[in-house]
Symmetry: C3
Subunit: 441 residues, 3 copies
């Protein structure tokens, strides 16, 4: 009478056998698994497992019973130091496919992986590595789609095919990574910390210490009273401006590549692809720097107001100072809107066109405002010899180069002749490959 029971009987969904009742054992259990499959979990102490720690319909029995009832695939959801406790069940595991779901504890690709250890312990079973990337945590919180990817590897092709198929039916998207030696890399994936931030943080924050040391040396030599806060407050906006320009540079480069090739049906070079995917992280770093710069400016202005006269704002005319302030405040406001729209739940609410408007339209507005803010700040200094101690231009002028280039590039792409061609290419038009044709003949 129960629909689910009927479905399960008809579909003949295989039995899923799991050894181990800890957090790991929940990994292959997609929330909907219980609907289609029969699930059996083996525990060292089956009577001690708290009621309710597994969803309805999951049977909790002893290790031995799980192995005896198992069809072909057995998930081993234990810490690797306890694999030896299964040695007594070696006979029953002959010919079975053991799926190892454990993680590495340290980053060291030279060590033997847990899956390889298991393969040594059970030479007559077929070991497949998989499901360790999907953490029980992610499943519980209903995490993002990316985590539904399951990396799989094995030395036995048939067993791997079996597991790949099972994975797909469990609602994940499997990725075949080859032989069991790949398990060393697979086991280290959960140890990676913010992998998508690695590029931006390493590649693009590298000028940070350089800039900082440049500024420190400049300040140390040029002025008698050296102030750490002042130096921070000149480095941060420069970094922020450059990062913001780096967010919009790859889009222009991509447009350039498409124009040059005359088609959109060729892949971008790999480095450009990576860069395009990291724009969000670059933008958020830029926003963070801008925010810190704001707070620093306020605090420094307070201290200055309280007596010590270190500022540069007072030298300026009121009109320029008004524009300087307004550009800065509005630029920060627009950047905040961009940051809010990059929150996953807000981004989901936007249609594609709205997202484009926010990220491209508002983004270039923010870049323009920030550039103007910097220009108004440094206007006087440019023509003053004291701004070039030891013939070095001040840092904020160096930081202006890239943003200005990006803005010029944006204007050029927006020119009617260029933009019309670009639109046509993006709607599928292709330039006749004349040269190729000639070569063919």
């Amino acid at each position: 009478k129960n629909l689910h029971q009927l479905l399960r009987k008809w579909g003949g969904g295989p039995l899923i056998s799991i050894i181990g009742s800890g957090d790991f054992s929940r990994v292959p259990l997609h929330p909907f698994a219980g609907l289609w499959f029969r699930v059996m979990v083996g525990s060292r102490n089956p009577t001690g497992v708290a009621v309710g720690s597994f969803p309805d319909g999951v049977e909790v029995v002893s290790h031995r019973e799980v192995v005896q009832a198992a069809e072909r695939v057995v998930f081993v959801a234990m810490f690797p130091e306890y694999y030896h406790t299964l040695v007594g069940l070696r006979e029953q595991l002959v010919g079975k496919v053991l799926v190892d779901v454990s993680n590495a504890t340290r980053m060291d690709l030279r060590r033997e992986s847990n899956a390889e250890k298991m393969a040594e312990l059970f030479p007559q079973s077929r070991v497949v590595k998989g499901f360790n990337v999907v953490s029980a945590w992610d499943l519980q919180t209903g995490a993002h789609d990316g985590s539904k990817q399951v990396l799989v590897c094995s030395d036995c092709p048939e067993s791997k095919a079996l597991v790949l198929d099972l994975t797909r039916r469990l609602g994940f998207s499997p990725v075949d990574l080859g032989g069991l030696c790949a398990s060393r890399e697979i086991e280290e994936v959960p140890l990676l910390l913010f992998p998508s931030w690695g590029g931006p943080a390493h590649g693009h924050l590298s000028p940070f210490p350089l800039l900082l040391s440049l500024l420190v040396s400049e300040e140390r030599f040029s002025s008698t009273n050296f102030h750490w806060c002042m130096v921070m407050n000149q480095t941060l906006p420069s970094i922020s401006l450059v990062l913001l320009a780096l967010v919009y540079l790859p889009g222009l480069l991509a447009a350039g590549v498409q124009l040059w090739r005359g088609t959109k049906y060729q892949r971008f070079p790999a480095w450009l692809d990576v860069w395009l995917c990291r724009r969000k992280e670059l933008g958020l770093l830029s926003f963070l720097c801008a925010l810190l710069h704001t707070v620093y400016s306020l605090c420094l202005a307070l201290r200055r107001a309280a007596g010590s006269t270190l500022g540069t704002i007072e030298h300026q005319s009121v009109w320029r100072s008004d524009l300087f302030l307004t550009c800065g405040i509005l630029g920060l406001g627009v950047l905040s809107l961009l940051a809010v729209s990059s929150l996953p739940s807000v981004g989901k609410m936007l249609s594609w066109r709205e997202f484009t408007f926010v990220q491209s339209g508002l983004g270039f507005t923010a870049l323009t405002l920030s550039t103007m803010h910097t220009l108004f700040f440094g206007w006087d200094l440019v023509f003053h010899p004291s701004a070039y101690p030891y013939y070095m231009p001040p840092v904020h002028m160096l930081a202006l180069v890239l943003p200005c280039l990006v803005l010029v590039g944006r204007v050029m792409v927006a020119l009617p002749c260029v933009s019309r061609r670009l639109t046509r290419i993006r709607r599928g038009w292709e330039r006749k490959p004349q040269t190729n044709k000639n070569l063919m003949e």
Copy 2:
């Protein structure tokens, strides 16, 4: 043996045929479509389609093969400039239902729509417009429920009924908009930018330039030194306060209408319905203005502290200035909480009662604090003749009118005699329609 294959066979889910393999072709493919339906995608160059760009089980073939295999409905997922490439398949498409999923490129209701063009090209096929509102982007990011609406129109009622049914089975909620001429409007829907913000931005920000010009003229005449930042910093809080009052006015009006009618079973007038739906956007605009006002105030106070004496705060007693500051800071804090709770992911976590408490309880607290902040600011000026240059009251006093009215209204609705009646009405009680009854007899 595979459950999904079985289900598909039993269910006899129709074949979904799609011509075109670009982004558009993913539109009718709801993430779960592949589970229940057989999907066939036609490409100009079927061997060139990258593996993995479509989900498992989707067959990628040539245009001709798709059309030949098609049951009755064929989705045409191409840019309109390529429709003519299908002319060679006209014979095979006779009697088929062509679903056009393309978008307009410009807002111009006088032009012929893409669907109408297609109907001219294939006079013996039945053209239905639909699915263009659901963007591939939305589906990919698992967007909000609103985007599951599919606007459909056609001149052939049977074909439309077929597509409406298919749409429903694909997991969308179709809306029938009539004949094919409606396709002009449907094609422009994806071009709309933040449609729910249109009302608030246009209707309620219209006083902004008016206020600004009023203030500029006031300042220009009254003071010798005119400051743009000062003017902005007087306009922004006034706008913010008025917008916040406009957030809570429609709720009071709705309560008034219900009290007057004595029932909740009648629809509100259309303008009130629209207004009630736009409260969130009004509130966020108000928060943005308040935030900018805060930053401006800090920056201006800094400049003032650095020498130029333009301020008004110094004239006040310390106690009033304390209250003025505290009301402002706490008001901004409460508004921030409101803004955070309007983030979709946070809002989802709140129960209905918590949402009411935050939006209504905290909202009126914010309104009260902002009103007091403005009152404490302007207390001295009210009784001073210099505050009325050319017999015009200062802007912040004009801005106080609406908030005070709303607060008085809120207090009246909270009076026991009124609130008890309102609660009864909202729980389904109806006043006996005596007059109607008399008229009936």
Copy 3:
């Protein structure tokens, strides 16, 4: 031909009968219910129910028809004051299971509950309380998993079992709370406001008024000019610092308990469990206090700069003041990152390891920075007799005690000998229970 119809026929999903067509009647209607079940809704005025207010496939008929067609279970989705309108259907309801889904209007456990009233009105029906905790609002917005819990109670065990099973099949997770008298509590659950915030707000903000009064009295006696803002600005950071320390104390206590017991397979004491679950709320309160403290500091510094000399920053050396400022700004920045990562949609994007890094690594960084910020602030005052009026230490020194203890505890847990043992325990190792063994023999 329609798959869903087939599934419905095959599965024999029971008919769901609901009396009442208001918001309540949507409660048992999980978004997917219509897929598997036949749904019938009874209305006072079935022709007056707007088309589209119920999903496709729901039949809207009169109360009488619903009751006549009902299988065994009838949901009563009305306000309790209208139960008497069903008295005429008493005959048909004999032996049926009535599920009461209404809520209480006030918190008063001595009153008779709505379900008990219904049981009196229909003595020959079996009344089950349930589904009132799941609000129609939550279902509509697709709320969090927590709200899928359905609290159920009844005096008739068979009827309860029936409803528990139905609940499970509707996609909720039922919780059996015993006899019908439990309905008094169940009906008040929706009236609870932010129950998870109750503990932190009541238990941990209790020192707030105490501190405030302490400071007020100190200020009143010690200085001639008393300033409310100054007092607030000393109380807020102290509260913030103590709350932040309270976030990280329970984790250390948990580690201590595990080390002492030598196993992870015993539950923590109840108060520690509750405390561990409230860390997020404590952290957010701490962040709020820190934010208000920042704004207050800026405003006060402005006023001070404008003439009145109340400050303490000027007395310090520039280097210490730099460190003081930088620690404060960076501490607030790190706290902001923590607050952002506690947004549900952002938290979902993080893997378990990333979440640990953010909440534990960044958290202790923020605590260290805040403690240093406070230390640098009070350095001078510690050795100055004027800091101890009436032999009481200043408030910020009292606030430092707990954070310093927590930091020392963290360092001790990180010592190699301790941390190695802790890791082993958390991976399932257990100390041999020697004493128990001896006792057994």
